[in-house]
Subunit: 424 residues, 2 copies
Amino acid sequence: MKKIEVGLLGLGTVGSGVLQMIRNNEDKVANVTGSTLEVKKVLVKHPERHQDVQQTVKLTTEINDIVNDPDLQIVVELIGGIHPAKEYIETALRNHKNVVTANKDLIATYGPELVKLAHDNHCDLMYEASVAGGIPILRTITNSFSADKITEVKGIVNGTTNYILTQMGQRGWSYEQALTEAQKLGFAEADPTNDVTGKDAAYKMIILSQFAFGTQLGLNDFAVTGIDNLSAFDVHQASQFGYVIKLVGIARVIEDGVFVEVAPTLVPNDHPLATINNEYNAVMVTGQAVGDTLFYGPGAGGLPTANSVLSDITSVTKNLVLKTNGNFFNNYQRRYIPAPADEVIYPYFLSITMPDVPGQMLKLTQIMTDIDASFSQITQTEADGMAHVVIITHGMNENQLQEFKNRVKDDSTIKLGAAYKVLK
Amino acid sequence: MKKIEVGLLGLGTVGSGVLQMIRNNEDKVANVTGSTLEVKKVLVKHPERHQDVQQTVKLTTEINDIVNDPDLQIVVELIGGIHPAKEYIETALRNHKNVVTANKDLIATYGPELVKLAHDNHCDLMYEASVAGGIPILRTITNSFSADKITEVKGIVNGTTNYILTQMGQRGWSYEQALTEAQKLGFAEADPTNDVTGKDAAYKMIILSQFAFGTQLGLNDFAVTGIDNLSAFDVHQASQFGYVIKLVGIARVIEDGVFVEVAPTLVPNDHPLATINNEYNAVMVTGQAVGDTLFYGPGAGGLPTANSVLSDITSVTKNLVLKTNGNFFNNYQRRYIPAPADEVIYPYFLSITMPDVPGQMLKLTQIMTDIDASFSQITQTEADGMAHVVIITHGMNENQLQEFKNRVKDDSTIKLGAAYKVLK
């Protein structure tokens, strides 16, 4: 039986998981791919910290030991971050090594460039683990929707924020309380910025959009709102209306364009995304023919992510056996056209504070009338002489929303605390 | 660009959907596969009934027109049933045509034989649409869990029964009422036997087990219980305990064996499978590394099923371009060993009727004590001098359950109406 030798860059949680899974499932991999896999070398910063594996695998601190080793056919990049991961992958590809990576920042930012380099060198470049940890979503979109027109991909693609939001919703905690607890339990990092500002989810939506629509977006092409300004009051008000607030990434075909956004969003309690809790992720793919489908699983974690890395490694291995490496992971290509703002229509949850005096509500309803928008649900509560008005509107387009924000800004008495989209 | 010509057997709901999707998504298919697809000939019984497509495709009533046409590279079988579908597929494969089918009865029964024939003739044989209509579950198991050890596959894989059970649960209807309504709305066939007895779900579990565990089961290897004896009373009692009753197919690794069953099963309200309603299907795949994942989508219907057929057709097309046809759709093989009965442990829902007289409950508790089983929840209601006792037990193994059934049978006063497994 043919032996495929693998070089690993990085030996953190995911790297250790990959090493462990290759060993534990040797027979099944052999059964399925017709080859055996062996991790020959691992790039680490501190070899002395990995005494436990030193007997079975060669540890090295020198990247050239791996990318220049002619025996290695697959290089797995798990060090994360953009530099030097990008340069390592480039060298590996130029040396005709197939590459598997879990690096979403890198793929979202330099994906097309690296994909081209892989193709030019007749090598595979796969990155299933870069989106939604253990959910095999990229390969599924590529293989199982290839003849359908996908009209929307939306979902909960960040486990840290979903954990925080679940705790806020279920325990009535503030954002700060929930974040502290999440950090204590290891669901949030010491510096949670990339997660809580929505940047991590945005990277994933860039990759998902590429797979679903063939478009290549940049971080500046769409609006990203995190959960770091979400108030416990709004979470409570939403629940009174029958909704949970989730950080939802939406990528949706509207007219000839694509609308993409990451933002706190109200999800009705009976919607499949409403029951996705804690660190779990879910991606809903809607196809013109197939309708709604949903893929659910752990969004992060060493072994679930390692499993996605291994699905890439075994795909590369099958290609090595068949000598079919160098084809695109996903080769659907289409130009990105932003959706027209007046066709992006959603109901909104508006959270407003204003003095509790006669005439205020009239002002608010006047603005809504002027912009041709209307209320679906409204409640008013009072505290400290201020009125808290929470509204769910009927469908409004992006221009109407902007106009509403401008009008409220012009009025010194009305303060708009939040404006979140509402899913149906 | 290379043109791939396709022959279609059957032009019912799914066949028409396939024809329509190939035409509507011509550009995307070309973009993804690098080839154009053209349906050249369709086998139909009554050409006069398909005037609408006669202008664009050749209709024929003669199978040899298709299987002997040297230009056709893919034959898509959508006539259903075992004969003559089996013979048509065999001839097509012997004539070196790649075959795509949605025929679960055929694949569950003669899968290994047909798979071997395809392999011997260097042809593809794919059947994604044979399980769970629009959910791309087979390809996902093959591609995305190839290095993980799957420990369980369970789910709701029959849309007709799930529609009936949803209506019974939500409206308090009897089985007969719900079935009649389902037939009226087209969710159940005039003769619903295969669906309501669990046979259809059993076929799907055979195919899922093969993909998950590499085992080849027959219909006689495991217990199949339908919903045709389910009472509205038990559905109501289950809901009082916080459960919904679903027809669940389970295939689970226990010790060195595999336990497989299709039966009405109690699912807790907060379990992901509890919210799968009406004609929707969902399959939960649990891997040792990845943990719980769930795949949800329409379980039947012309276009969703056509989408799965097309994912096969485009996979075959990619293989034609790469000249890599003839590899197994799934080549994981392992001998089937039934799980030991005393290790198959579940809590049970027991629905019992007995005379409402002193000493009866003592008899029942004595039996439970004798077989070393215990109650977790119990309620007793009364009607017409009879006591209805509903119990949820702690975990019991299959031998204990059998012993309980035997003891109850020996006692002429205690009638066991139902014994359903309870999921956690």
